[in-house]
Amino acid sequence: MKVLVTAKRVVDYNVNIRVLSDNSGVDLNNVKMSVNPFDEIAIEEAVRLKEAGKADEVVVVSIGPGSAQEQIRTALALGADRGILVETDVDVQPLGIAKALKAIVDKEQPGLIITGKQAIDGDNNQTGQMLAALCGLSQATFASELELGDGTATVTREVDGGLETISVKLPAVVTTDLRLNEPRYASLPNIMKAKKKPIDTFTPEDLGVDVTPRVTTLKVSPPAERQAGIIVETVEELVDKLKNEAKVIS
């Protein structure tokens, strides 16, 4: 079985982003970029399926600028076999991403697709679900456990009340939550090996998909600042403040 995974290029989760003073967006100059953390979990899961003999090929896809090759290389160093870059300088939104991914799914015919649940830049949490819809496939979002069966997969999902287990027909789209696995680090030999693995490049036009955004960002502003608070010396002082100043307990 072939597994398709996705790797979005995003601002590293450790970076404290800054809103540009003209409110046009956030400052991406000289900012460390990484594979979206949920996508690292997706890649890890796919590679483990291959190591367990349940998958025979792992293909990683990224949609973005030419520099997204770096994130594909990272995925290849983590164990993916080959990469596909859908190259565009348009800031493609989830519906457009899902359409581009559908074109890749049509080409590659994977038995399983694993995406992250959420890209930590736009915090949209949409793409996997949209891809499943466009392909007419089942979806298992927010996965914390994945078990492949015969033509089906059993997935435990993190939901608001706790955990839920569903069984989905394959091929399916699975989106990862934090507890699915703990991604490995790429070893130096694997980073070297990854340089020789193939990456195919297409444009959205090559694939015949329209990625024009439907949503325009009018402005980006910093969030409301919180007033700096005070340090209390004792628990007694804390309780007094909460009762008599903030009046949030009685």
Partner: protein
Amino acid sequence: MSILVVAEHDNESIKAPTLVTVAAAQAIGGDIEVLVAGSGCGAAGEAASKIAGVSKVLVADNAAYDHAVAENVAALIAEIGGNYSHILAPTTSAGKNFMPRAAALLDVAQISDISGVVSEDTFERPIYAGNAIATVQSSDAIKVITVRGTAFDGVAAEGGSAAVESLDSVQDTGLTTWEKEEIVKLDRPELTAASIIISGGRGMQNGENFSLLETVADKLGAAIGASRAAVDAGFVPNDMQVGQTGKIVAPDLYIAVGISGAIQHLAGMKDSKVIVAINKDEDAPIFQVADYGLVADLFKAVPELDGML
């Protein structure tokens, strides 16, 4: 303009995030209808008809919609969606699951987790873990939107008298079979509904130590939350995670115990009215958002706090 609100419910009653979503619909303005899709959900449909400001309730009662199976609920929303200018659902795990699927079936974008309504086509939403707020305008004919639970004051659950209509169409894709759930039974308020929350982080050291927070929570009528580190380490279950990729909360009082204050955690709680931090490291970033900070060993401070309540 007609707005469809997809209800969050448990077949018996309507959940609070639905009321928040109706409030967002009112901010957009227009006729508001509520869809209750479930199995044996007549009582929830009746409850929805009492929500203030709702003109009609559509009840789709069929086994196919049990547990809000995304493939089926999304197909149902897509089937009736053409009648509406806006389709709204709460940003809950169910809403996050079926709404983008419905949007794609309708070939429209989704605007996720809005925190404000500027006009009928322009909305505010947090991005980058709430470190920036984007104002976005949609050019789609149907706006599919999820609504942040802390962003609007919910409308009254009682007072309305909407007509209830049943939808006979059954969208059963047969793609997914629901098997089982492990739902944590709470004696305390739910995190997203609580007016006081006490949360523990890696500093709690293990699951047993969360009992220290429980006794305080019981006295305050508080819910208990956690950081990702505490959940990943297995101290507490996943449904307790507060943050960018967990639950978003904004109680009157949030007490963070042994939590450093990573941006991903702050994203989930920094809109709380009053924030208290108890941490032994005076440089912990949590103190930068805390109204009241206590630099102390939690194993000493929390029992002391308990004794004073």
